[in-house]
């Protein structure tokens, strides 16, 4: 049943959402993951690096708003994360403005440890204001609806 639910949405992309990268959000994220690196919190130090500003940890882009795939609504509680991949083209820094979107790239069914499961493959991207790709991401989540 569930694969049929997702099939019509394969290939559909969200409208890009404007995200402003906040230094406070980066610091909180770094604290939550227990990473003491000063590049995530110390502006004076960050200015001495070639980035010239506070930058975000490698997995921070997951916190952005990617918008909604039009019409795709389902219960997200209980989703299980199967895989996550990132490709980085440019650093993400505090003060940057990124336009982020998501697309359901694929949906398929597989027999797994917990019975029949639906795998959803999402592809995300973040673009800067000049229209350059800053990062690409691909995630696989498991739906057990």
């Amino acid at each position: 049943m569930s694969v049929e639910l997702f099939a019509p949405f394969i290939g559909i992309e969200s409208q890009p959402v404007k995200n402003e990268v906040e230094k406070g959000a980066i610091r909180k994220f770094a604290e939550a993951i227990g990473d003491p690196n000063p590049i995530y919190r110390d502006e004076a130090y960050a200015k001495t690096t070639r980035f010239g500003r506070i930058i975000a940890p490698p997995t921070f882009s997951r916190t952005f708003d990617y918008g909604e795939i039009p019409g795709l609504r389902f219960k997200r509680e209980g989703l299980i994360h199967g895989e996550q991949h990132f490709e980085y083209r440019q650093p993400i820094g505090a003060g940057d403005v990124l336009y982020c979107s998501t697309k359901l790239a694929d949906a398929y069914e597989k027999e797994g440890k917990l019975g029949k499961m639906t795998f959803l493959v999402y592809e995300q991207k973040g673009m800067n204001e000049s229209g350059e790709t800053v990062f690409l991401a691909r995630s696989i989540v498991i739906y057990r609806g």
Binding site: A25, K28, F29, E31, A32, I33, G34, D35, N37, I39, T49, R50, F51, P57, P58, T59, R62, T63, R76, E77, G78, L79, I80, H81, G82, E83, Q84, H85, F86, E87, Y88, P91, L114, R138
Partner: protein, 139 residues
């Protein structure tokens, strides 16, 4: 900073993180915006058949991310980073992150290093396995 020249077989890490706590899962939920109750609500996680709350896979991936950024420093760039989540992490688990260089190549005056990375619990169970690629300047 002295830039090391990487070779296939070189080890990366280990990075041993403090035990994951329920407070950390609440902090990570807030910092990431991932409020899936399997990470914070004991009853929900029980009913979902998970035997209690489990850590966000992305939290463990972030630990491996720290291993990589600690290794690369600010002169290098992480180019690619991908993982599979292969096991559950629970409060109290001590996660160790490690990696091993698979191959290297020169590109635009920098050394591009491909490595396998993983994170394991104190019981030795691998909970994250993946691959990363980074570029470092070579003097």
């Amino acid at each position: 900073m002295t830039n090391k020249r990487w070779q296939a077989g070189d080890t990366i890490g280990p990075l041993v993180k403090p035990a994951v706590s329920k407070t950390q899962l609440v902090m990570y939920s807030g910092a990431s915006g991932d409020y899936n109750p399997i990470h914070t609500v004991e009853e929900f996680a029980q009913q979902a058949g998970l035997g209690g709350v489990i850590a966000h896979g992305m939290l463990t991936m972030a630990f491996v991310g720290q291993l990589l950024t600690d290794t690369i420093g600010t002169e290098g760039d992480l180019l690619k980073f991908g993982v599979r989540f292969t096991g559950m992490v629970r409060p109290g688990d001590v996660i160790t992150c490690e990696g091993r260089v698979q191959h290297t190549r020169m590109e635009g005056g920098r050394q591009v290093v491909t490595c396998e990375v993983w994170a394991a619990t104190q019981k030795g169970e691998k909970v994250v396995v993946g691959q990363a690629e980074f570029a470092c300047p070579v003097e």
